[in-house]
Amino acid sequence: MKHNARYFGEFGGMFVPELLVPALQQLEQAFNSSQDDAEFAKEFSDLLNNYAGRPTPLTLTRNLSPNDKVKIYLKREDLLHGGAHKTNQVLGQALLAKRMNKTEIIAETGAGQHGVATAIACALLGLKCRVYMGEKDCARQQPNVFRMRLLGAEVIPVTAGSGTLKDAVNEALRDWSSSYQDAHYLLGTAAGPHPYPTMVREFQKMIGEEVHQQIIQHEGKLPDYAIACVGGGSNAIGLFHEFLPHESVKLIGVEPAGKGLDTDHHGATLNKGKKGILHGTYTYVMQDSDGQIEESYSVSAGLDYPAVGPQHAFLKDSGRVDYVSVTDQQALDAFELLSKSEGIIPALESSHALAYALVLAESLQQEATIVVNLSGRGDKDLDYVRRLKEESSHD
């Protein structure tokens, strides 16, 4: 057991080429000093409140719950500027980049949500931005590619490997190893080498803090369940962190089961992966017996990642959080159901959390309150879902 800031139990660390260690240490120092700086906190919360639109509402659904005894609340990160929770931590890291006198930002993106959020922050704060995106994801998420370019970012399609998020991370890391003097690598989730998992959590934890206040106002007590989808795990850790000490709140992370956990087409790293090292961190990883990384799969590009943040690996093994999974089809059904029953079109990522909330609500005998992190809105998925529906109607 390692007792230091780089680790969550046995998970985490800084497994990167020696060349990148000084850049990560510089980032760690900048982050630590910013946490004691009232000016930094003031500027960050000014951006969050007056630019991005925090706090986001907590909405009690009217028609969604399949069980009269169960109330389902939605934390409306879909209403945040940029359309997803990603904007929170991107603003935090962009401020840190300025604090370190960096002039350029490198980012990777899967669904394009992190890329868009990064392009937004860079436009606002005058930083030069380049975003690596797998070529398959570029094709799946055309509108976001256009958005990023409109916002002034350079989008670089990655053809290597599987052409998805993990390959985009590889390219971003390679870029950073020759550009770290001027560039900050703005990693998009609570994974990767230290200090990213801790830093991203700290820049996302307002989600859970707001939920805590809001649910007390609505219900006068803590929720029974808090549910979030898990790819890398940033929206989930943002929701969970506040509730970790409150043992009565059951925390549930929902992974993408894709076409089924017993197929080769899923991204359920915590459910099916093995301990290993990918992108700088010791965590659960989808891999073969030799340690070659396997390609993940999900209908949702934002959950299509073969590793997971190290704190989630720790929370799984400690038993504090349950990690379950739902299939593509369950997520697509939830996507439609929320649209029709509440007039809210969720991101396919968030639809996974919602789908599990529906399964849970149906199974409960007693009264219960569930909070679902609606981490993003579904506009980016409309074209893709429309095509999927057309394909299935032709079958």
Partner: protein, 232 residues
């Protein structure tokens, strides 16, 4: 080959021999099983017959973040040709059987070691006749678990002295690295263009002051392999 002590390792014997002749070492790099098992053996034979002083051999890995497009492509070719960790060890054993004295270093990524089991990986490496292992994504700060087991199995752990390393890191590179010290004069991945080469005099001086193992300069030049320039 299992009874080496630090004083009589193949690297030591090589560096002593070269020092007498006032020569540097030429250490070419190739990826194992690229483009396939049989040709890979012939390529390595060719390198040795052509005068390589030592070998640096890469295990193919799906996500080589420290390498540029040339070596990544080599990894992908090797994996598509059916490479596995065991086939790589078998290939090294063949090389060792053919050339008993040439130092063999491995360059690879941590997940291959962790997935096999750290202890088991170093044991297999030793049995195959490997002299040193450089894990591209294990910096000094995370190296303790690997170093201890490496030395138990008579494998020299190799660390990279980078142009941006602190004095303390260089001291630890000198202290923990055995066999040779991988000297990096430039930022970036292998085989890619970078903005500037950095001066190595200062790093060299610090390594000498800390009695580091002899330095080999990683060229990382944009030619289709990684090679090392002799340092007088």
């Amino acid at each position: 080959m299992t009874d080496q002590t630090a004083n009589q390792s193949r690297y030591n014997r090589l560096f002593e021999k070269l020092a007498k002749k006032n020569q540097g070492a030429f250490v070419p790099f190739v990826t194992l099983c690229d483009p396939n098992l049989e040709l890979s053996f012939k390529i390595i034979q060719c390198l040795v017959e052509s005068g390589a002083d030592a070998l640096e051999l890469g295990f193919p890995f799906s996500d080589p973040i420290a390498d540029g497009p040339v070596i990544q492509a080599a990894s992908i070719r090797a994996l598509q040709a059916g490479s596995s960790n065991q086939k790589c060890f078998d290939l090294i054993a063949r090389v060792r059987q053919a050339y008993s004295e040439i130092p063999i270093g491995l360059l690879l990524y941590s997940n291959l070691v962790v997935a096999t089991g750290i202890e088991s990986f170093y044991e297999k490496a030793n049995e195959a006749g490997v002299d040193s292992i450089l894990i591209a994504d294990v910096p000094i700060i995370e190296s303790q678990a690997f170093c201890e087991i490496a030395q138990k199995h008579q494998i020299a752990p190799i660390f990279i002295a980078t142009p941006n390393a602190s004095a303390e890191t260089l001291r630890q590179v000198a202290e923990n690295g055995k066999g040779y010290t991988y000297l990096l004069s430039r930022a970036g991945t292998t085989g890619t263009e970078v903005k500037a080469e950095m001066p190595v005099d200062n790093i060299l001086n610090q390594l000498r002051q800390n009695n580091a193992s002899p330095p080999l300069l990683g060229l990382g030049s944009p030619i289709p392999n990684r090679s090392k320039k002799p340092l007088a």
